[in-house]
């Protein structure tokens, strides 16, 4: 072997090892949580409300709360994000106004989540009189999720070949028909990926829901969008820091449920993506 080949081997090995290093923490985190928490996952744990100062019973209200918050977040952020991405990619002219919007989107993603929480508290809870509620929490998480959804949707739309638009327009289709039939269908997998990514983020956030929706202890289920709910990440924070002498296995089990929930969402998106890919015929 000559020198160049050896150097190449070394370079490949280094790159390989480094790439492998990325996988290590995620595996360790999951393993650690599963080993410590799996034992406490029982049917009762998943379906009952917490009892005896949250030291016993289950986490059912928190699971329901988190699911409701994710759905609420999606309800606000998905249409808003996708529609504005369509506007930015397909309609907006490249002027000062558009550049300002794009800059805002980038900057939105840089805002710390606690700031979103405080903003949501002032804007939705107080100013719009939503109260501490699912509505206020979903709106807050929705705004936080917007930048990722917009950016992912924009990239997905931009990656649809320009020729599809040209074909459609050249056949006399209107701009909207072109977007509807020749652009959006091919952008959906990318949009889904971005959406699920940001929704999994939202599912695990504590700071934005702290003042806007999360209840310390609320065993009953919400009756409307104006009710408070418990949520998994906040519940985890509470039992880990505020409740003395609680078995750690409960914390780990709660974390495991949260991770499983996020994993489930990713699974759904993978299935949906495969479904839409199949529809594209090449």
């Amino acid at each position: 072997m000559n020198g160049a080949k050896i150097r190449q081997q070394i370079a490949f090995s280094i790159l390989g090892v480094i790439t492998l290093l990325i996988v290590v923490p995620i595996i360790l985190v999951i393993l650690y949580i599963v080993i410590n928490g799996a034992g406490s996952i029982t049917w009762q744990f998943l379906t009952q409300e917490p009892r005896s100062g949250m030291k016993a019973g289950g986490i059912f209200p928190a699971i329901v709360g988190t699911i409701l918050l994710v759905l609420g977040t999606m309800l606000f952020a998905l249409p808003l994000g996708v529609l504005s991405a369509i506007y930015l990619v397909e309609y907006a002219r490249d002027d000062l106004f558009t550049r300002m919007i794009k800059l805002s989107v980038v900057n939105l993603s840089g805002i710390p989540s606690i700031v979103y929480g405080l903003f949501g508290f002032t804007a939705f809870v107080l100013l719009l009189h939503c109260g501490t509620s699912i509505l206020a929490g979903s709106l807050t998480l929705g705004i936080m999720s917007l930048p990722v959804i917009i950016t992912a949707s924009k990239e997905a739309l931009e990656s649809v070949p320009f020729t599809y638009r040209e074909i459609s327009l050249s056949l006399g289709a209107t701009k909207w028909q072109t977007i509807r039939y020749c652009v959006l269908p091919y952008a959906i997998p990318g949009i889904l990926t971005g959406t699920v990514l940001s929704l999994s983020r939202a599912a695990g956030e504590t700071a934005p829901i702290l003042f806007t929706v999360a209840a310390f202890y609320l065993p009953r289920l919400p009756r409307s969008a104006f009710d408070q709910v418990m949520a998994l990440p906040y519940h985890l924070y509470v039992i880990a820091t505020q409740v003395p002498n609680i078995p750690t296995s409960i914390s780990f089990a709660t974390a495991l449920v949260l991770i499983a929930l996020v994993f489930l969402m990713n699974l759904v998106s993978i299935i949906l993506r495969a479904h839409y890919r199949k529809k594209r015929l090449w």
Partner: protein
């Protein structure tokens, strides 16, 4: 009898930004003619073609002055959708949508509001027959269009354009990526379409222009140098530059 031109351009100037791509183009195209447009790269042939159905305006820096008339009517008075329905275009590389053969052809009727399944089916079949593709694809209409060969894809594009019901068909170097046999099939299709359509063929291939077109125009650096019956243009070119180009001295 001299028939009214289907397409007429009057003092047409085209610009991309500050760069003038076409200068003072005056052309008349009578119905059912196949007009060939030849010229070296960057002579403005494609821009001329895409000016006719306003596709140039997809580029934000594009502007034009002068008039383009379709059946004596300024095309600025016609909406983009209707204009492009009347003036279809076939692009240089076969460009099919990533859907089935059937859906490629049915796309045009669909966006123009044809919902009746039978009507769409009949339109698709007629269009494919006119484009000489029906026999090759009739048993596999639901297959992905991308599985067709390059020549078949280009004829599919022709069928897709025909299904919209155009009056004029523009071809932008339609055979540049095709082998000689596929090229011959596309040219056959064009000959058959003569009875019903006015066609304009931009080509880099002077031989193709001499085979297919009845009249031929020579573009050079944004100017229309010469136009005349194809046979005359190739045998007794009036302009020295035309002579140089067709005898292969440049381009």
């Amino acid at each position: 009898m001299v028939s009214e031109p289907v397409i007429k351009t009057v003092n047409l100037d085209c610009f991309f930004g500050a760069h003038q791509v076409l200068r003072n183009i005056n052309l008349e195209i009578p119905p059912n003619e196949i007009l060939g447009i030849i010229g070296p790269a960057n002579s403005g042939k494609t821009t001329f073609l895409r000016a006719l159905n306003r596709l140039n305006y997809l580029h934000r820096t594009y502007s034009q002055s002068g008039e383009i008339l379709l059946d004596g009517r300024d095309i600025r008075q016609i909406s983009d959708n209707l204009l492009r329905k009347k003036i279809g275009i076939i692009f240089a590389l076969p460009q099919v949508l990533p859907v089935s053969i059937f859906d490629n052809v049915a796309y045009g009727p669909k966006v123009h509001g044809v919902t009746n399944k039978e009507t769409v089916g009949r339109t698709v079949e007629e269009a494919l027959k006119k484009a000489y593709l029906w026999e090759e694809v009739k048993d596999r209409l639901q297959e992905p269009a991308v599985r067709l060969s390059g020549g078949q894809q280009q004829r599919l594009c022709i069928a897709r354009t025909l299904a919209v019901g155009p009056q004029v068909i523009l071809y932008d170097e339609p055979c540049s990526g095709l082998d000689p046999i596929s090229t011959a099939k596309v040219e056959d299709a064009m000959q058959q379409l003569k009875t019903d359509y006015t066609q304009i063929l931009v080509t880099n291939n002077t031989k193709q222009a001499s085979r297919v077109s009845e009249r031929c125009a020579f573009f050079l650096m944004g100017e229309l140098v010469e136009i005349g019956p194809t046979h005359d243009l190739f045998t007794y070119p009036q302009d020295k530059r035309t002579d140089d180009y067709i005898t292969g001295r440049f381009g």
